[in-house]
Amino acid sequence: MLAVKGEVDVYTAPRLRERLVELVTEGKRKIVVDLEGVDFLDSTGLGVLVGGLKRLRSNDGEMTLVSTQSRILKVFEITGLTKVFSIHDSVEAATAG
């Protein structure tokens, strides 16, 4: 479980990338990224999530996302990434899935 807070943009996304790489390196294979605390997410942030998913899948793992905020979901929709990620309403739903 990784809870992301605040703004994810070109300045802060590298930190998120590092955290994801760390988790995979530690051997985690199922990662739930909780985006409920995120106020802003841009294409750099999306790119980091796509990169994390790719890294996990190539290790037989999976990443699921949690978000109910329309402004965050909208960014996934516009870019077609709702078809790539499974996005859940709650951490419970994401963990069960």
């Binding site: 841009d42 998913l53 078809k83």
Partner: protein, 141 residues
């Protein structure tokens, strides 16, 4: 017209977002989700402007200009980077293709295009200006 000039560094993009959302909120009749759209589009354009300067070690600047028309907001983002050719940007495979995961980039311009009502790119070897237009209600007050 209001102008904000920042160093071409990632840490200043959040200031640009604040600039845009503050002006949009106080000056025009515009729904919150449209403000979010404009904020994200300007943020993407700024990120690209800053990226365009990342190779040079000179004291590069990015200038964001806010202008208003009767029925629109216009935000221009200008950089002095090397410019680019819109026509030759790589196309992504469809999202259903597993290959899609190889593309962590290239999402910015498509996002910009779908978030705002008009986009104009003026780009040359000495810099790029991206102008984003959003239609909106009349001036406040």
């Amino acid at each position: 017209m209001v102008e904000l000039e920042i160093p071409a560094e990632p840490e200043f993009v959040s200031l640009v977002r604040l600039f845009v959302s503050s002006l949009a909120t106080t000056r025009r009749e515009i729904a919150d989700d449209r403000i979010d759209d404009l904020k994200l589009a300007v943020s993407e354009a700024c990120t690209n402007a800053i990226d365009a300067h990342s190779d040079s070690d000179t004291d590069d600047r990015v200038v964001v200009t806010w202008a208003e028309g009767d029925d629109r907001l216009e935000v221009a983002v200008n950089d002095s980077g090397p410019g680019f050719d819109l026509a030759t940007l790589p196309q992504h495979p469809p999202v259903t293709d597993p290959e899609r995961l190889n593309f962590e980039r290239g999402l910015g311009i498509p996002l910009i295009r779908s978030l705002v009502d008009e986009v104009d790119f003026k780009t040359s070897g000495s810099g790029t200006t991206v102008t984003l237009v959003m239609y909106c209600g009349p001036a406040e007050g």
